[in-house]
Symmetry: C2
Subunit: 177 residues, 2 copies
């Protein structure tokens, strides 16, 4: 299942992907990334470079880290070289677009690329520190530029929603969006 | 592909599994384990407890570690609680059974359970320090008992062979075994 964030003009910018229960991923295209809490220090500390080594695809990180996640080799992740990080949020209210019901009820993972911290495109999405002790959030390039922010913690590549207990009911799904 | 070590009496003890290229593993049954070089200190240092947390199956390790591998949720691994570790060897000559050609030409991963260090069954296989600076190897319970060894670094659960470049030629495969 794959839906995409659509902004007011209907332009798709950040893929929002729901992990399927028992989602199968070819071992050759699995991506392993370090996981952080929604905390700026952790995002800066998490290992920056992780490479896949040898025939077994052993993930070798530049430094030790204690939280990791395995994701299917989705398009935006496969091209991810250095700087990839996953930030886990208790719910999706940290996203800057319309807050449907699921935003408050589902945990999400935000995958960001820390090698791209420049606030570039107006329609890009960036991981930033919300300030005032509010922790991290995702913000639009346009909004950041309005506030004269030129740097972020990273460019957001993907938002991952958790698998659903039942994925047979399309109707219920439409209810929720 | 799954072959098994057969001892002289033809009794199967340790599964030897070849990873298939593009082997698919249900995300719900992927196993992530810390990887060590064939070095006693590393085996003792590698995180002992790794649990899977939350809906995304984030792997939370008791301490940071820099090398990890994702394996399909093969039977012997799924039941693995605390103590699981993967030791990577340049070739399979560290195994105590007959050395066919592939043993010298293929890297292997040995998956061991460090929560079971007692040398129990004669026909069990154990990860031990070969002594004399030879590094680690896999030894039979029977052999260890003859030397009055009662403890090992862990019980061997599984030996993993790398994916083959071509997995279309059953004949060539038989040549090699």
């Amino acid at each position: 299942e794959k839906d995409e964030e659509e902004d007011v003009e209907g332009v798709t910018r950040v893929p929002v992907v729901r992990l399927r229960i028992g989602e199968v991923a070819e071992a050759s295209s699995v991506v392993v990334l370090p996981v952080c809490a929604a905390d700026e220090r952790e995002v800066l500390e998490a290992p920056f470079e992780c490479r896949s080594e040898g025939e077994f695809g052993v993930v070798v990180s530049e430094k030790g880290w204690g939280r990791w996640v395995v994701l299917p080799g989705w398009d935006p992740l496969v091209g991810l070289g250095k700087g990839g990080v996953v930030v886990s949020f208790a719910d999706a209210r940290v996203l800057p677009w319309k807050a449907n019901r699921w935003y408050k009820e589902e945990a999400i993972l935000v995958v960001a690329d820390r090698s791209k911290i420049e606030v570039g495109a107006d329609d890009g999405f960036y991981l930033v520190n919300g300030g005032d002790g509010k922790g991290l959030k995702v913000e639009r390039g346009f909004t950041l530029k309005e506030k004269d922010f030129t740097q972020s913690l990273g460019t957001v590549l993907l938002v991952v929603r958790p698998p659903k207990e039942e994925d047979d009911d399309q109707l219920s799904d439409e209810d929720w969006e």
